[in-house]
Amino acid sequence: MAAATPGSDEGDLALAGVVRRFGAVTALAGIDLAVRKGELLTILGPSGSGKTTLLKVVAGFEMPDEGEVLLGERRITAAPPSKRDIGMVFQNYALFPHMTIAENIAFPLQMRKVPKAEIRRRVEDVLALVDLPGLGGRLPRQLSGGQQQRAALARAIVFGPRLLLLDEPFGALDRKLREQMQLEVRRLQRKLGLTALFVTHDQEEALILSDRIAVMEQGRIVQLGSPEEIYRRPATRFVAGFIGESNLFRARVAGNGYALLENGVGVPLPPGAPPEGSEVGLMLRPERPKPISAGERLDSVFSGEVVETVYLGETVKYRIRLNPGLEIIVRWPFREAGESLRVGDRTTLGWNRDDLHLVGWS
């Protein structure tokens, strides 16, 4: 079994060969992961990908069937949740409804037998830190969703945990508040230098918040990297489809740096293509294709008909049916699209071979 090297600055939290099965279902099929000190690492995946199980294994609510979990020097694989020194923010905050906010925040300190006077001081401090001064005496239900979120965060960090776990904490907030809270969590995590593991199914959120993202599919981590890497160079077709919007064409590698799309049209490939005859996926982010003005030269050029337009503020998303019978989604700044691309309009667009990213198809 591969063991991570504990204690190195490589891993503050380390999982090595973690397997968890539920009957015939394998929820975690061998997870190796190291979260660096002070890093916010996001576990991103659709529901059923195993990310929640992974979180539970780290928190101690699930025991792995195989493998080890290490927190710094400590092997915590079999330690009960209460002995793990992990602060956790739950999906619906899980604030104790019968305790005031101050009592909620004091709870982990009381459990650690911190002296009363110090508890009072630390509760005050953390309330100020999360911008809830003077609300310590309220009951959770007397606070707004955003305030509850802050309180839950305060409770999770007040005792100086070794690791902060965030389990889809923004799901219950409306969009505007969510964005605000995301930034705030990010700011706090940075400021306190907390190592954090963040679980979400929301790829946009993951891109905004994370230092690194681990994308999970069917109990495995299929890609681990910075948001930019994940976005620009998804390792698999699944990642490509899951993160951000993309056009994904199935193609077969032909000779001369070309690939044939399913309808037989050839497109120039970027360098590093697999050998001739391989089946590949060609990923094209919607912002990459350009409308062609006269005299411009691009590797691939198509003309087509706009079948759908969606205004997104600064950008407009178009669905365009290309001549060879392909559909493509593009996103262009409002201006560049010209004044009046409407449904039914014809347009010509194109891209360079470097705009394409190759992923395995199967």
């Binding site: 009960p80 949740p81 209460s82 002995k83 899980a94 019968h98 709870f107 459990m111 005792f159």
Partner: protein, 294 residues
């Protein structure tokens, strides 16, 4: 705005319409509850008022004076409330774990457990009581077994005393404790327990600080139900207490049936009702600080 319009006398019609629009839900709810309210009024409140009126027969407070000063009735009233308190505490001690079991096991165990808890409900009170007699008597199954295996040399006094009364009453009333607690336990968010654990609480602290306080509304409901039902108990104490345990309902019944002295019976009932309400208010007070969140 709307309130201002409603206040203006000239706009009464509009005001009514607006009131109706704003309060339609409340009004409809009231309408829906009306049959039940009328039923309670006609078959509960009214007879109770009539009964209370009888306690002031001849415009005097004599009946009350007797009920409140006569050592016999005061003593029996206190005994009754004590017994009700014992029964409530025992029911809580037994019922809480049962409710926890029902709320936390996987199917089909909850269903099976609920059937067992409900069994006494489906058995007539006399059958139940005689069943206990067979089980608990001097020559009952329990005593004979303990004597036969040599654990005892004299039979345990399980029946025809306070023990018998408590056993019988707890048996009958246990469902009233289990179900309210069970209902509340089912609604406890498992994430809260996980949160407490994750925040460093050991098992018993989770129970003491989080789980138990969260189930307090059920506990209060159960204790109140059991206590109030206990106070009016009649047949079980008479049969299982061997006549040695006197509860107030027995004295009231004697006054009504044997001596047709409804005035005094009514006064005793009123005193009992007042004492019960007092205990109820006291219980609520006691729990209130812990329940304001619910």
């Amino acid at each position: 705005m709307t309130a201002a319009v409603a206040d203006r006398p000239a706009a009464t019609a509009t005001g009514t319409a607006i009131w109706w629009r704003n309060n339609r839900a409340t009004a409809l709810l009231l309408l829906a509850a009306a049959p039940a309210l009328l039923f309670l009024l006609a078959f509960y409140l009214l007879p109770m008022m009539l009964l209370l009126a009888q306690s002031f027969e001849g415009g005097s407070l004599k009946a009350y004076e007797k009920a409140l000063t006569d050592g016999l009735y005061v003593r029996v009233l206190i005994d009754t409330m004590l017994i009700a308190a014992y029964v409530s505490v025992i029911c809580l001690a037994l019922g809480y774990p049962v409710a926890y079991f029902l709320a936390s096991t996987r199917p089909p165990w909850p269903t099976i457990g609920i059937i067992f808890v409900l069994l006494p409900f489906w058995t007539s009170i006399l059958v139940r009581t005689y069943g206990w007699m067979i089980l608990l008597g001097r020559n009952g199954i329990i005593n004979r077994f303990l004597l036969d295996i040599g654990l005892l040399s004299d039979p345990l006094p399980l029946l025809n005393n306070l023990n018998g009364v408590l056993i019988g009453m707890v048996h009958v009333l246990l469902p009233y404790m289990v179900f309210p607690i069970y209902a509340v336990m089912r609604r406890v968010d498992p994430a809260l327990i996980a949160a407490a654990e994750g925040l460093g609480a050991p098992g018993w602290q989770i129970f003491r600080r989080v789980y138990f306080p969260l189930t307090l509304p059920g506990v209060l409901a159960g204790v109140t139900l059991v206590y109030i039902l206990s106070i009016g108990f009649f047949i079980t104490p008479a049969l299982l207490g061997g006549g040695k345990v006197i509860m107030i309902a027995v004295l009231i019944e004697t006054q009504v049936r044997q001596f047709l002295n409804w005035g005094f019976a009514a006064a005793l009932s009123a005193v009992l009702l007042a004492a019960t309400l007092l205990v109820y208010v006291g219980l609520r007070r006691l729990f209130r600080s812990d329940l304001q969140w619910s």
